[in-house]
Assembly symmetry: D3
Amino acid sequence: MWIYEKKLQYPVKIKNPNPTLANVIISQLGGPDGEIGASMRYLHQRYSMPYDEVVGILTDVGSEELAHLEMVSAIVCQLTRNLREEDIKGTPFATYFVDHTTGVYPIAASGVPFDMKYVGVKGDIIADLNEDLAAEQKARVTYDNILRLCDDPDVREPIKFLREREIVHYQRFCDALRVTQDKLDSKNFYACNPSFDKGCGK
Amino acid sequence: MWIYEKKLQYPVKIKNPNPTLANVIISQLGGPDGEIGASMRYLHQRYSMPYDEVVGILTDVGSEELAHLEMVSAIVCQLTRNLREEDIKGTPFATYFVDHTTGVYPIAASGVPFDMKYVGVKGDIIADLNEDLAAEQKARVTYDNILRLCDDPDVREPIKFLREREIVHYQRFCDALRVTQDKLDSKNFYACNPSFDKGCGK
Amino acid sequence: MWIYEKKLQYPVKIKNPNPTLANVIISQLGGPDGEIGASMRYLHQRYSMPYDEVVGILTDVGSEELAHLEMVSAIVCQLTRNLREEDIKGTPFATYFVDHTTGVYPIAASGVPFDMKYVGVKGDIIADLNEDLAAEQKARVTYDNILRLCDDPDVREPIKFLREREIVHYQRFCDALRVTQDKLDSKNFYACNPSFDKGCGK
Amino acid sequence: MWIYEKKLQYPVKIKNPNPTLANVIISQLGGPDGEIGASMRYLHQRYSMPYDEVVGILTDVGSEELAHLEMVSAIVCQLTRNLREEDIKGTPFATYFVDHTTGVYPIAASGVPFDMKYVGVKGDIIADLNEDLAAEQKARVTYDNILRLCDDPDVREPIKFLREREIVHYQRFCDALRVTQDKLDSKNFYACNPSFDKGCGK
Amino acid sequence: MWIYEKKLQYPVKIKNPNPTLANVIISQLGGPDGEIGASMRYLHQRYSMPYDEVVGILTDVGSEELAHLEMVSAIVCQLTRNLREEDIKGTPFATYFVDHTTGVYPIAASGVPFDMKYVGVKGDIIADLNEDLAAEQKARVTYDNILRLCDDPDVREPIKFLREREIVHYQRFCDALRVTQDKLDSKNFYACNPSFDKGCGK
Amino acid sequence: MWIYEKKLQYPVKIKNPNPTLANVIISQLGGPDGEIGASMRYLHQRYSMPYDEVVGILTDVGSEELAHLEMVSAIVCQLTRNLREEDIKGTPFATYFVDHTTGVYPIAASGVPFDMKYVGVKGDIIADLNEDLAAEQKARVTYDNILRLCDDPDVREPIKFLREREIVHYQRFCDALRVTQDKLDSKNFYACNPSFDKGCGK
């Protein structure tokens, strides 16, 4: 279980609303490589992992991604605060506004609601760790692209923090994969599954 | 942010695997009225709520739903433990197994992956609280149906606990709605939105 | 069955095309809280309702929502009439136009086609009526938002009519819930289902 | 608008419940070629049709499809009536039951909720009429397949009625296409659109 | 199997980037009537076709659609080449860019990823050929609409080539349907399926 | 473009129909890690790759995956051949049969139609190659699971061939990643994108 602590992992204090930028950043909440997918991926992959250290990494990283989704939500919320109707009418934000007013609803930048199809849980340690490495790289690219599109330092600072964390996570999953391959038969490491193939890696 | 505490909100200790039952219960993880949808609904609706007590209720309940999704995952995981290939071959569980082995992947009982389309965030306190009341009732029905289909006391006890919590949440959202209506103009309580209509409820 | 009567429930006569506004209003046709979802929700929930007066309300309201989806379609159609290619090229309407020309296709404002995942049918009278109350509030908010984004009186008048009807429907579902709770055991009204739990409410 | 008449287009009186058969027939409600898609296709294609007789055919057929979806719902409802929990536990119907009890929810036989992606509205008379011809043939095949899987005469009779109607609709759309081609330049009939290409067919 | 030949079916050489136009044209890659759907439709329908000449047509046309999806991808790629960040920031292309940079990802113009729900495979020759006729008409309309929205001759030429091919395919499917009807009982041609109904067409 | 050669990459000759097994194997056609997703992933990622050898690998592997989807389709087709109605009635295959007869339609084992959401194209060489490594591992697990559920040697042989090819592809993508990292600044290899960050890797 998780205990809520009433503070963001990294502070978000945005002075100027910018709904056009919010429309882009929201992808890191509910988009294909966003934080909801990330937390759900790691917190669910835990159950079929055969090694405690890998379960531990997934729990840590998955819980941290919950903190990240709260940060991204806070960014989106602050970028759409205090808008007047004239700031919305006829802008691209209007298509979001009609269905969600200025609430925070988890979608991709394209407008497509979050879908668990973006997430893989194969119940196989090698496949799942490769999925996790890919996920962190894809999230890193999304943050890179947000930084390419955003000048406001109030937004850039928390985004840079989030981007750095994805790189740290990538390295942790690299370690997890190395540990796993050492435990399994190194020659055939992607050819067996310890839950089903009894002699696997022995 | 959330701090992980390594214990389930209510213990799950299932002795007998039952993949057919897991196929049904998984809906309360990734189904239309499951715990992922519940936590995401409340944790995101928070941002557009005008009253602190309502934000507090949504944060509390949303964080508790995270604990519930961990419980449902644990139930699904334990019901599919130690299966032999003969327990899977030719059974309805095989269509899940081919894509997820015995990992825990958030889908509805129908096999459809979780989709945020099940969740409403309207950025309007009256609409969102009505959504929450409905969500709790729908989750309650799902637990009722699981109980109708399940005889194993090891499974029934945590499910009964989860069902009770939905009723408590329903009552909390009833309170939140009452508080809100008292603060708004009681005659027109569903006709204005404090974020946009300045005189609303004054 | 339904007999078609060749007239709109409320007249729609729009003089000036406005594809940008059509892009927003279309959400009340095929969006998360639009009229297709509304009619399908009520017309299908009817089958598991234990009380005739509730079946009657659902049939009435569901049939009226069919009339509403015809009104919203007429609004969208009239707002995209007589466009020249220059009115479309390079505008946000172009992404709709490429796939549907100026036909009326049921999508959300985000561009996502209508999906029945927006609709709940639980086969439980208390849950389904709570769903209906939420649905009416969410539709009401969508109409509120359309009014916030729209100045054209030709469009505002039918939208205001539709918004008023949602409030009337909300009140009818409040009545239905009251009637239902009187018939069921008032203390435990959300804890049983008359189709399965024989003594329920007796 | 549509006036509800409290009778089915063709009577449905099923004596014996059969949830396994209901699981299959429900596809003709919410499946890829089901009656919801059919009614929504025709009732929305109307708006961009240049000829009154074609608008009339689409309105007629679309309204009749509403009557058909009511018939299919009635069949599904009657096939799942008076089930005891023992009739559901461990059967394939259990995955439906957990989320919808014995309510009628519009899905495909696969369990996937209805999605408007099954429906095409191109805003082009030739393309839309070809879509309609294909839709009627696909619905006809679904009814053929239901008849291949169903022995109960109480179910077969209304299904045969529905199948016959699809063939009548196919013929009406053939007529509509013929009328249209006569009006357009017969050599180039699929190469222009009267709404955009002014000299088209002149 | 397919052997790759390193050349486009028709040359694509676009001098001027135009991400707004790419946003529209991409629908003919991953949209409801795009080339991915087309190739997948024909290449999969082949398996249940009873006549060799129809299998041959489906294989030919399906393989050609693979070449078309390569052409549409090349158009999208070339229209988004050499963009500077200033060309993207604040434009409608930004919502695509954040998730895919300038990679080519198969979506509809609306932003919705390609979904096989757009494609019908009924396992019935009459229904499937009607589906194919409709598909070609719908693709033709999409190309018509692209031409209405596009002035750049470098883009128009390959699009006109693709449009012409759809008309040729339509004619081939007309021929296939004629051949099929001649082989089946002409009076009842849409009322039987040679795979199941043994006497069908004899 | 691709030239069709009328032979399978590896022969498929199945003597005994087995629709239950077809229901499982079809996931390697239209499921989350199936061959349609694989071919579409590689053939579209090509366009944003900066190095010719990587483009070459993606073209090769993507074209081979087209051959694989043809093999999986052939397996599914042959497993559902010559069924009598009695072989389908009341079996899990009936929910597939009602909508597709014995045609081959690309879905996951769960019944969910193929969705491009399973596929990532980030327009970034490091992220895309990590995605590809994960994709090959996930496909390998699916084939492992099929082998765990399948005794028929006629089916096992082509499945084993397909599984081996995924391992070869994994190794080719490992090589591609190594080549790429050598070309980029080895310390920061996942921190830049040669298309946007000019000094990247210099």
